[in-house]
């Protein structure tokens, strides 16, 4: 009898908790869907940072046109769900620069273009040097600042070619992250604001791709973990 009453008590306590969890999940889904529907109606490109699924989706009109994997994630703070954010600022250690086209002097005679020497046997032909802004010029370490002050910090995995200085900086950033964020949080708290940051580690090419595509004024949604 005692066992039965205990089971009944546990069941009675468990049912409302489970129902509340389900309702919270449905509420969160609803807010995200409503926010995404508004973005989809605009017919513009928008981004979904799905931190639960560790993926970044490029979407237009509700359809996914590309997706990037997130290798690892660290989060600090917890902004509100179901809000469409606008990218206000991108900051990189080394910003890519557009090249200005040099205009040839009309008086000069056009020199005949000399073809590049053929590659030696067994050697891959070299890609021609171009005056262009390409994906390889994009940074792999940068910060995306959203309109509510939330920061999405993007890092790529440590390249095999990284020198000692780069390795030192990488490991310093990696291990000091939590402590420095604590100090920043206290500083923000004293000013009456909250500090939210996500550190996303992406493969090198994908980190460059995100910088290429997600430009100031771009909209995004974040599914927080």
């Amino acid at each position: 009898m005692r066992v039965l009453s205990t089971i009944l008590l546990v069941f009675l306590l468990w049912v409302p908790v489970a129902a509340a969890d389900e309702f919270a999940e449905l509420t969160q889904t609803n807010r995200l869907l409503q926010a995404e529907y508004e973005l989809a109606k605009s017919q513009k490109l928008y981004f979904i940072f799905d931190l639960q699924a560790s993926e970044i989706f490029y979407r237009v009109s509700g359809i996914t046109v590309a997706k990037l994997p997130i290798l690892s994630l660290r989060s600090w703070g917890r902004p509100a769900d179901g809000i469409a954010y606008t990218l206000t600022k991108r900051t990189a250690r080394k910003e890519p620069e557009r090249e200005k086209i040099a205009i040839p002097d009309g008086k000069e005679e056009a020199k005949p273009a000399t073809p590049p020497p053929p590659p030696k046997p067994g050697e891959a032909p070299k890609a021609p040097e171009l005056q262009a802004l390409e994906i390889a010029d994009m940074p792999t370490e940068y910060t995306l600042q959203l309109d509510d002050g939330t920061l999405l910090t993007v890092r790529s995995t440590l390249s095999e070619k990284a020198d000692f200085k780069e390795k030192l900086r990488y490991y310093y950033d990696k291990y000091s992250w939590f402590f420095t964020r604590s100090l920043i949080s206290i500083s923000h708290h004293r000013q009456g604001t909250s500090y939210n940051e996500m550190l996303l580690t992406l493969p090198e090419r994908e980190a460059r791709m995100l910088y290429w595509s997600f430009q100031e004024g771009g909209r995004c949604l974040v599914h927080w973990p």
């Binding site: 129902a19 309702f23 449905l26 509420t27 609803n30 807010r31 869907l33 409503q34 995404e36 529907y37 989809a40 109606k41 017919q43 513009k44 490109l45 490029y58 237009v60 009109s61 509700g62 359809i63 046109v65 590309a66 600090w76 703070g77 917890r78 902004p79 509100a80 769900d81 557009r98 090249e99 200005k100 086209i101 205009i103 002097d105 009309g106 890609a127 021609p128 171009l130 005056q131 262009a132 802004l133 390409e134 994906i135 939590f178 402590f179 964020r181 604590s182 100090l183 920043i184 949080s185 206290i186 923000h188 708290h189 909250s194 500090y195 460059r208 791709m209 290429w212 595509s213 430009q215």
Partner: protein
């Protein structure tokens, strides 16, 4: 006499006279060591305290999550049991916004064009998109940035044997004078056999520089190889959606 577990004799103390302090005073000298240890632990405790307080601040549940009430179109709160149905309705509304039938997706970072139908990719094509370079008119000060525009467009025109009407920048870039006669702007040999217009003077067209396909070299248009261009021209209809990112 017993000090620090060692046995000291009167003769040994006498022998050290004038060279070392009496052994009774030695333990008193360690006060600085205890101070150092205490200071170290105080620093560690302070760091731990700051970290714990910062951690607490950074991991509080968001206030904005509390007390959320989902409302319907008329502003009435939705009952929990109806929320799942409301979400399903929203998903259906979103699906209705997706392009119908085939559509074109252009990846300017990787210089690829995809013909897609729903989630399926029907064909992948190598292209050349905008170089991102900047041209400044040394006389008038006008500026052009050669980016491929991004967003959602649609095929607005389809042209066989297109003729390029060279804009001002094409002459400025070559250091040539801008002609007054419009006929001198026409160039029939550079756009390939077909062109698909997506508005604002941007086209998907052919190229003479096929070895540069896969690189960002164009002035904003999307260049394709002959076979891919012919396929796309025959497949896409007026109104086909073009998504560029």
């Amino acid at each position: 006499m017993q000090i620090d577990g060692k046995h000291w004799t009167g003769s040994r103390i006498t022998g050290l006279e004038g060279q070392a302090p009496p052994p009774e005073q030695r333990p008193r000298r360690r006060w600085w060591l205890w101070l150092l240890v205490g200071f170290f632990f105080a620093i560690v405790a302070a760091f731990a305290g700051v970290f714990a307080y910062g951690w607490h601040l950074g991991h509080r549940p968001a206030n904005a999550q509390a007390g959320i009430v989902i409302k319907d179109d008329k502003g009435k709160p939705i009952a929990p049991e109806k929320l799942a149905a409301t979400n399903a309705k929203l998903e259906k509304k979103m699906a209705a916004l997706a392009p119908k039938g085939q559509y074109i997706v252009i990846d300017t970072a990787n210089n690829r064009v995809y013909l897609r139908d729903g989630d399926r990719t029907l064909r992948e094509m190598v292209a050349s998109c905008g170089s991102g370079n900047v041209l400044v008119d040394p006389v008038g000060g006008r500026t052009w940035t050669f980016d491929t525009p991004r967003g959602q467009f649609q095929v607005k025109s389809k042209v066989n044997n297109p003729v390029w009407i060279k804009p001002d920048w094409a002459f400025i870039e070559e250091g040539e004078p801008i002609p007054r006669d419009p006929r001198q702007r026409a160039d029939a040999n550079v756009m390939g056999d077909y062109a698909l217009g997506i508005g604002n003077g941007y086209f998907l067209h052919g190229t003479l520089y096929k070895r540069l396909l896969g690189r960002n070299v164009s002035h904003g248009c999307v260049r394709l190889g002959d076979e891919d261009l012919e396929f796309l021209f025959k497949t896409a209809t007026l109104g086909t959606k073009v998504i560029i990112y």
